[in-house]
Symmetry: C2
Subunit: 210 residues, 2 copies
């Protein structure tokens, strides 16, 4: 072992990230973390003061909420505000679904055993949405009667829950679903959700509407 404090510190955080991504925060323990990082568990207490310190450091230097970027420079090239909002939300959903650590940190907000990751996640999400709305407002005219932050928050929450549920149903599709039933984890079901998303944004954000 190279006696390098920064290196082992980084190894601990790295291992914590992958362990959390794999099994969730409740399954993260001092022993397993030290084992995965290839160091002794006493170093976790020395460097971070305990597991919670590791999670705090993890939240401080990792991306816990997808940072979607508004596509550059085609300000008014035919793309409407409704389409822009929809595509941003779908991008956020895709990035969230693909990032196991993001998914787990999103779940950590909801668990009764709170961790230091939860506030970091909430803050990153808020900042990201604020940035998204700010750039949208500079590039499109937002009708004054529509509450864009509320709309984004509502739709983003719905998509987030879909992503969380989908991440837990791996092939164990439940049968007996009536034809009427809609399952976002199914391609057909997801297409309906996408269509509904488009319908909502179009109905609310098109200027000719009320």
């Amino acid at each position: 072992m190279t006696r390098d404090r920064f290196a082992t510190r980084a190894a601990i955080i790295e291992s914590a990230a992958s362990l959390v991504a794999a099994g969730g925060i409740p399954h993260l323990g001092v022993n397993s973390l030290a084992d995965a990082a290839g160091c002794d568990k006493v170093l976790i207490y020395r460097y971070f003061g305990g597991l919670d310190g590791v999670l705090a450091a993890l939240g401080a230097e990792r991306v816990l909420w997808p940072a979607v970027e508004v596509p550059p420079e085609n300000d008014d090239s035919g793309v409407s505000l409704a389409e822009a909002v929809q595509s941003l939300l779908l991008e956020e959903w895709a990035a969230l679904s693909a990032g196991a650590l993001m998914l787990q940190s999103a779940v950590s907000e909801l668990e009764s055993s709170r961790s230091s990751l939860s506030p970091a996640t909430a803050q990153q999400r808020d900042e990201q949405h604020a940035r998204m709305i700010a750039t949208l407002k500079t590039r499109h005219r937002v009708p004054p009667y529509v509450d864009l932050p509320a709309l984004v928050e509502l739709l983003s929450s719905a998509l987030t829950l879909f992503a969380l549920r989908a991440s837990q149903t791996h092939g164990d599709r439940r049968e007996g679903s009536p034809a009427q039933h809609l399952d976002p984890a199914t391609p057909a079901g997801w297409r309906r959700i996408e269509k509904m998303l488009g319908a909502i944004t179009r109905a609310l954000l098109h200027a000719e509407h009320q």
Copy 2:
């Protein structure tokens, strides 16, 4: 102790319900459950085969998802389809927020440590939504171009996530939120969400639209 198998069985399930409601499924253990139920833990294995059996029994005989009822008999008395959908969703949200066991079982769907409560929750939710849509369709004319199940699923998911997040933020409001920020756990923020909900249902479900 009254040597009554059914009584102790019921006591175990009852204690399991309150323990889960209080601390979540991950905090439910054989020892604590037996202690709370006032019986020996070996009975848990004898009667249910283990903790998972208790959770399965719990899911089978408890309400894990609010069963909101369509208000009776005022079919066309001025209440529009949009208003009906909105009020049903708000009722569902209120019932979900008030039921600790419901909240915890909803979280259990998202945890990596799956339990036998998750499928029961999902099934109850599906059935409830299907019933809600069915009665809505009999009492109101639903425009053919609108996918009512998808709309309900999307809005219900958003409200569910709001309820889950709110149940975990007990007074530890985070500061430094910009004026632009929207927090559903705040009265003002929640009012904006409600308004947005109304705007969406109205924009999509009013016949004169599109």
